[in-house]
Amino acid sequence: MPSGTRNGEIRIVDVTKRFGDLTAVRDLSLTIPDRSYCCLLGPSGCGKTTILRMIAGHETPTTGEIRIGGEAVVGLTPVQRGTAMMFQSYALFPHRSVLDNVAFSLKLRGASKAERHRQARELLAKVRMERFADRLPAQLSGGQQQRVALARALITNPRVLLLDEPLSALDEYLRLRMRGELRRVQKDLGITFIHVTHTQLEAIAVADLVVVMAQGRIEQAASAREIFTTPRSAYVARFMGGQNVLSGTVESVIDGHAIVADEHGASFSTVVDGPNPLKGSRLVGSIRRDRVSVSKAQGCATASGKVNALVGEVHAIEYQGSYVKVTIQRPTGEEFVANVIDDDFFRDPLDIGDSVLARWSARDVLILEGAPDAGAASMDEAGGMLV
């Protein structure tokens, strides 16, 4: 039976998990508030599923502690923890009907057939699957199987629901619908949801708390808006997309503004807050893609001498409905992206190959922590970044 307290706060304290020589999770600490919707986000192999499985009790931390609602849970069974897990493959038992799948945990606890079927039907009604009670899992579509898996996990009355890539097996349309539905269920039940995903849009769409992970560590844990608008590191900025990352050395600090120039003639300025950076030190900054304006370069314009501007050639133009994604290739080969509002774009449309000048304002520049190329290597496998 789930433990007495219904508090679904999760505290992960200095947890390390090693599989042989491989360290999947490194000295990680994280607090997930009770009744929140938390997304663990990162490329494959970043340790997010390992964390989920350690919270669920399907893996044991090598060192460190996990507390749920204040209780240390390492060594307890999932039922004692009051957690339930929804598996990526759903893991519906193929030899049992939908009804018996949902009623399974009640059967294990010795509930009478009538009682467990009554409760199972109730939950199936909640996920609108009561009509399919007598079907077998193989006779259901992916979306229907997922609803059944959700009902089966919820019948244990957990205080924490753990979802391992719950939407990855669905097509785009269902994915969007189901993620809204998951969020609604979480609000209705008032329990903690922890959702593992590698899709940025999915995470920021549903989560109260987004935890961006890389190589077994947390890069940033914050609200979706904070992660998106004020990434802490170049890794997060790149991984979440939506930002351009520039780096350079500090040339001067005047009136609380630092001017930073990169090696290729572009420079940006930023409002310095705190101690002045040393001249010559390296700084990394990010600029939101939707705060960049693009205009055709006149003649052989260069950006030299202009702060918060760079030149390049239009490399790709992708129409996105409400905006147009313009990818600019700098002479160095680096890419710089501007998301231009559709009205602005079509007033004076650009073509691939046009020379352009991209500009932004100092207040949209955000100084990031750490090395400029941090996490760049894992970008490739991260795949579909935000546009």
Partner: protein, 280 residues
């Protein structure tokens, strides 16, 4: 899959088709002759022509006239095959599940188990027989022959279980644990039912391998023969079509065993895809 557009068949087609025709002829031709001759008329002999059609030679089997203890051998073989099938299922399912965890020395243990597939069966049987004698134990079909046959069926059972478990998603077990199952409940309610078609396959293999096992059994069965040994003895001293009648009966038994296994697997698969909704 779409077939390639029609065109002349390559010469390899004719080579393989001819080979297959030969294969079918070799396998089923002599067998068919035996089945036909087992219905030989009462005055007929071991070869064509048929002098009539009768069940005379099948009758001879049950009455044990001149043909030795064929009924007893048949019973022993069936009982032995059932015991072997059961032990093979229990041990190879357990071993298969155990081998999923890579324990220290699991590679060595695996190769030790599999090695008996390549050892000459006669010598395995001889060794067991000699070993029993050294230990002062009586050799008999349900002791030494049972052990000898298991050295043959267990590696097969283990290999089949590897194939079966290779397609088994461990998330089923974790889901069961997550829902509160003890390890015993997990095995009984989830793992075994899901693996059931594969387990029936293991049982079928155990049964048929035992039912016509010869080299390992011949020196370990003692004084009371199993069916293949009895048939072997008959070929040297029985000169009537009763010999063929034995062939027909044993073939029918084999087909019944295979039929039962295939039908039960089909029923299980069907319940899982178009099922009635009743738990199995």
């Amino acid at each position: 899959m779409k077939h390639a557009t029609a065109g002349p068949r390559p010469w390899t087609f004719y080579v393989f088709a001819s080979f297959f025709a030969l294969f079918v002829l070799f396998l089923y031709g002599p067998m068919t002759v035996i089945y036909i001759l087992s219905f030989q008329g009462p005055t007929g002999g071991l070869t064509f022509p048929m002098t009539g059609f009768s069940l005379r030679w099948f009758h001879a089997l049950v009455t044990a006239e001149r043909v030795g203890d064929i009924g007893g051998a048949f019973n022993r073989s069936i009982v032995l095959a059932v015991i072997v099938a059961l032990l093979t299922v229990v041990l190879s399912v357990a071993a298969g599940l155990g081998f999923r965890r890579r324990f220290p020395g699991s590679g060595v243990v695996f190769y030790l188990a599999i090695a008996s597939l390549i050892m000459p069966g006669l010598f395995v049987g001889l060794g067991i027989a000699v070993g029993f004698q050294l230990l002062g134990l009586d050799i008999d079909w349900y002791t030494s022959a049972l052990g000898a046959q298991l050295t043959w069926t267990l590696p097969y059972g283990l290999l089949i279980m590897f194939a079966v478990l290779g397609r088994f998603n461990r998330a089923y077990e974790e889901a069961a644990t997550d829902l509160g199952a003890t390890s015993w409940q997990r095995l009984r309610e989830v793992v075994l039912p899901i693996l059931l078609p594969g387990i029936i396959g293991v049982a079928l293999f155990g049964f048929t391998l035992s039912y016509d096992e010869f080299p390992r059994t011949v020196l370990t069965a003692g004084t009371r023969n199993t069916l293949p040994l009895e048939i072997w003895a008959m070929t040297t001293n029985v000169t009537s079509p009763a010999l063929f009648a034995v062939g027909t009966v044993t073939t029918i038994v084999s087909f019944i065993a295979i039929g039962i296994a295939l039908i039960s697997i089909a029923v299980i698969q069907r319940r899982r895809t178009r099922g009635s909704g009743e738990p199995i």
